[in-house]
Amino acid sequence: MSKRNNFIRRSLMGVLSFLKESVFADEYAAKKGFLQSLDPRIKIITFILFILAILFTQSMAGSLYLYAVCLILAYLSRVSIGFFLKRTWIFIPLFSLFIAIPALFSVFSPGEPLLSLNMAGVQLIITRPGLWGAALFVTRVIASVSFAVLLSLTTKHFVLLKVLRILGIPQIFVMTMGMCYRYIYLFVEMIENTYTAVKSRSGVNIHYPRGQRVVAWNIAYLWVRSCQLNEEVYKAMLSRGYSGEPAVLNDFKAKPKDWLWLSAVLAMFAVNRLAEIWGIYG
């Protein structure tokens, strides 16, 4: 089997299986844990409060305290901590590394030098304020990303979309997102089926240029199919009375437990702010 062909096959199958397993599987959202038991509206509001608290935090201790709260919530919601750490730490370098590294050096953060590096005749000095600022930035990113990932893991995607609509995000925007989500799955299946059909007729040894032609043909086919689908779905929407502004049913019911949780988070938010203002975190 050609190595390049094998690479394309493995990449394609890898992407498809990642999409199916991580994007479409609501494994943790279906578990019976603490966050899963909350009213999604209250849950989203409290998570926004947590992320705001992280944004306002000026100290690393404050950020780490909120990160610890996030890990405890993950544990209480029966999310595997190993899986959760892997999922969040994949994103963190992407978000923070490129921004945080330059902030280490005296060019951007002047102050007391900690370490001096000589790279190709250029002297780079890491400063104390630089190191402190970069560390604070990374902990803030860790905590914020962890809360966002925890929210998406413990909430079924359709519930998340529904809450966004109820919270006033333009309906058409949320509906488009929901439909994208819905039809990406269909296209993933279509790609898988086409690949299996090609393999069943030509075996696994497809000559590389021919493989390229097959892929190009598939892209064109998917494009045409998506255009057709777009038109047909719009007709199906019109047929059931859609007139440009989708209506949504709000059938969520908040329980006393949800209000208690909201009060607790509000109190936590206030205490955190006061601790920041009074300098308790140092």
């Binding site: 529904k162 819905r182 799955y185 689908l229 059931r240 009375g241």
Partner: protein, 269 residues
């Protein structure tokens, strides 16, 4: 004829102006009728249903709905559009097209929500339909996780919940197992008995007698070649053969196999 709902006269339609889909169709549908439109693949059955649902409009000829000429700009008036959509419901051939919401429940209630039906009433209709179609355990599932039979049931539920007077169904039993097919046929018979007009396109001759009083046969030339009562149409073997509607089976009797066409009526004689 009593109380015509739809009247098509010499209706022509083509896709992209180049690919003819209907060539001079004349059809009149009256209230409470059960109509089956039969024909081979690509003969224009779906196009006809889309015209009757006011989704596309004939390029030539006339189309009257509820006694008035129907043009595209009529749907620019919100009150007319809402009224028409409440009266006419279409079940699409491909259920994936019709199920575009994140969950089955949202898909089913999409129609009445858009049409301004009161929330308590939507809940009542939903509960009733869930019971009839036995789809209670599907409500919170995403449509992509359903089997084809379940998708079709949900697609039918999403149209039935609007409680339209006229129900258009595009191959509702295609690819379904016998039990689900039976369930859908029973539902159509029940809907018709409650006064609804049912127009079904199909090439499944086994269901035609049960779901129709009048059958229109489409030819590969995209024209209606014959219409009549189901018994008369299904007995015309030459007509069915010419229009690619005859079943051809291979049978094995003892140690010999032989191939021969057979008509639907043989099952009932």
């Amino acid at each position: 004829m009593d109380n015509p709902i739809f009247e098509l006269q010499d209706a022509h339609f083509s896709y992209l102006g180049r690919y003819p889909a209907l060539r001079g169709i004349d059809i009149t549908v009256c209230q409470g009728e059960q109509i089956a439109v039969i024909g081979a693949n690509g003969c224009g059955k779906s196009t006809l249903l889309h015209i009757l649902d006011g989704l596309i409009f004939p390029e030539r000829g006339s189309f009257k709905a509820f006694g008035k000429e129907l043009k595209e700009d009529a749907f620019n008036r919100a009150d007319f559009s809402r009224d028409f959509r409440k009266k006419v419901g279409l079940v699409f051939q491909n259920p994936d097209v019709q199920l575009f919401c994140p969950t089955v429940k949202e898909d089913i209630i999409f129609g009445p929500l858009q049409l301004g039906v009161e929330k308590g009433e939507i809940q009542r209709r939903l509960e009733a339909l869930v019971g009839v179609l036995n789809i209670g355990d599907l409500l919170d599932r995403p449509p992509q996780q359903l089997s084809i039979g379940e998708k079709r049931k949900v697609a039918i539920a999403s149209t039935l919940i609007i409680e339209p007077d006229i129900l258009l169904l595009d191959e509702p039993t295609a690819g379904l197992d016998p039990q689900t097919t039976r369930c859908i046929i029973d539902l159509l018979i029940q809907a018709n008995e409650s006064g609804k007009t049912i127009i079904t396109s199909t090439h499944d001759l086994h269901i035609v007698e049960e779901i129709s009083d009048t059958v229109y046969v489409f030819s590969p030339e995209k024209k209606i070649i014959k219409s009549g009562c189901p018994h008369e149409i299904l007995a015309d073997e030459q007509l069915l053969r010419d229009n690619n509607l005859l079943h051809i089976h291979s049978h094995r009797h003892r140690d010999k196999s032989h191939i021969h066409p057979h008509t639907h009526l043989e099952h009932h004689s």
